[in-house]
Amino acid sequence: MNIQANPPPLPVPHVVKGEAIYGVEQNYGRFATPALDLNAMVWPRNEPAPARDIPVAEIIDVLVAVGERLTKDPDGSLAEALERSVKTNPLPRDVLERSYASLGRIFNRRLMEFQVEQELGGADVIDGWREVTTTSGRLARIRAFPTRLVHIIAGNAPGVAAQSVIRGALTKCVNLFKLPSNDLFSATAILRALSAVAKDHPVARSFSAAYWRGGDASVESKLFRPQFFDKIVAWGGESTIRGALKYVGPGFELVAFDPKTSISMIGREAFASEEALDNVASRAAFDATLMNQQACTSSRFQFIEGSVADVDRYCARLQAKLGEQRPTASATPIPLPSNVRDELDGLRAFEDEYRVFGGYEGRGLVVRSDAPVDFYPDNKIVNVVCVADLRDAVRHVSVATQTVGVFPAKRRVELRDALCSAGAQRVVALGLAQPEGGLPHDGFYPLHRFVRWVTDEGDRD
């Protein structure tokens, strides 16, 4: 008899208030976790946030040390997390390797200072009380006060965990991360590094991370309460957002990093010369393949002005470049899901209206059409849609559109107001879809939303 032996479940550690917890009491099949200790993971309202009175400058020092440790990885724990991620994360090994290798660089001093400056207006308002005088002459003091956050983090890029740690630490909040099953190891690896560089430091004690199955009411109905948390920071997935909404109410607020789609808009200027076309195709391919097209910033639909013959030339070049290896993309073929293959086969009946560039082997595929396709272009598939004028494409933009990469710059400036009116949150030069810190994300400043803005009004004493 040929019984297939299942590999033993991968152990997934938890972190409880800075302390790594190991165990495999809870078996989920492919992986196992320690038993969930809900009592240990909540911060009662009557206890101050441990990092409340730690100056931001000191927190940044700690985070910089975390970044250095992640880069050097002296005890190999990041390397171990990488190996385990390779087994559970859908991203290919080389993309994960490069993401893990660059994790430390996210903990960049100047970047974090820029974030505090941009998003909160300076460290003074979170380190203490910033005094203002109102129009009537009343003295008032404002402070960005730490809150208690439960984060449902996304697992499509390890950087999400790093960015969430940075945001949670800079705001001095207490943070519980609910780990996603597509990235079970990055957040805990970062938190273990935090505890290693700053053992028992209030910032380290401000973080917990655990896995439970998303939507598990026996866990979430107990945790997602204003008694224990002030805000739920929910990334991605309609089901996550809808799941979180069940618990949202007065005192328990939703901060949603909604699921988003990103697009590109390419003006006829792209066809000015062969060189220009090649450059545009390279930039568009970079934007499309960010995190192997698993990110919200990855471009999926590209609206373009030009004759069919010109657009076909563009499509051919774009297709060739989708398969290239980049820091944020792998050359490893991604198998085409059968439903997408069915859709493409259906479109092949109309080769005049729907032309498919590239094969089904998963090295990049482009569909050229006059209207957006019905399916969701994913795994290095781009739908290039011909339009007479880029302005005609604005009707395809909604609040679910995050990044719009536009070429050339002049057209970006012309289009940006219309795009933002339609709901888009980010208009960038084609090729700049990869986001940078300190700017608004999904239409808001995350640090600003994480804190509670409180006032103290009246004379000083």
């Binding site: 040929n2 859908p90 499509n156 999400v160 990334w235 309609e238 988003k260 086969d345 209207a371």
Partner: protein
Amino acid sequence: MSVRHELLEAILTPGVFDKPYPDLEAKQLEAARELFAVRKDQIGLLRRRAEDAGIAEISSTKDLVPLLFAHTAYKSYPQSFVDQGRWDRMLQWMQTLSVDRTDNVDVEGVRDVDDWIHRLREAGHMVLATSGSSGKCSFLNHTRGDSAMKRRHASVAVGWPFVRGNKDRACFFLGPSEGPNSAIEASQNNAANFGRPGDIHFLTDEPLLMSEISRAAALRTRMAEGTVTPDEIEAFEAEARAKAARMNTALNAMTELILARRHEPIYLTGMWAQHMMIIERARKLGIPDGDFNPQAVVSAGGGVKGVALPPDYKEQVARFYGNVIRPTAYGMTEMAQMMPRCEHMRYHRAPGLIWLLLDASGERLLSAEDGPNGVVEGRFGFLDLLYEGRWGGLITGDKVTIDFASECPCGRPGPTILDTITRFAQSGDDHIGCAGTIDSYIRSSITQ
């Protein structure tokens, strides 16, 4: 007679599910070989799949695996063709999945998708449609002959092993009498096989309209584009409410009729929520549980998504009808020869249905050796040999367990499918990403 026809005709052999069919596996392989040899030159998509997989002929059942279509193949047309009424393009698409030529269909003056289906049917293409939660409909072609063969199959399989249709019962179907949908087709078949002419009752003669579904889809598209007014949404929802109210009235009237004739051996099918409404009325009338004729045939099913039901609705329905005959079968729109369930809660197949149990990814064919004692879990696929109008090979999203043993605990021949059918989720876990489609959450919801 070809081997394929021999297997299909076997459904008429008395006790077809009760006795082993000699040399069935070899004959099924031969029938698949015959069928593929003809269909690969007739069906565009099958030819493409065969070429991609490098399969020129079927020499083992493994060769069928890359030739199975997913349900998505039957809705792979661009929705804009429907929205813009480009029916000639839709025919061209339908051709790639059909055996018969679709250019015999006159699409001049077609108003909507129901009109288009009607014209297809007039021309002999007995299209069935399904509506997915996405709002995009699937269209499956088959011939008039296929329809007749399906009815013939149902005459043997529905009710097995407890009862067989004898055209002598009062029949109550809690759904529409007309419409291009497999549930309605099944009701029509069961009415023909079980019903006493003149005593067959459908909830409504208002036909099921696919255009209502595509209108909802078109409205959602416009909602995403931000061009819908609140009044338009209200008008759409008001229409849906009015229809729900009409159906409610009809159900109330039919409930009185059903309860009045509960001591007769009636034939009744409805959805869970409808049965619960019948129970509620019966309670008001003081009708106790278990007061139906034990020869009555009652079945319940349908989605329960979005319907408020008590957690024990199945038990309540079971208690209410009591010791009646409750035949069950496993099938789907894409399958002609659905599989009835025996007393031991296992599903049996007709000789003309080839089972293909696949691994979770749908790539590898599994066999008895892949599980302990020949009991194997996998993704269900099949080749239904019945169809003349299209390819009958399908890979499903169903997770099934097949017992490959040559005998079922009921004593009849195996293999059998256990009563543990569930769906393969997109992914077993809670993968979370920040990328997503502009799904219903932005369009907000509309009542259908």
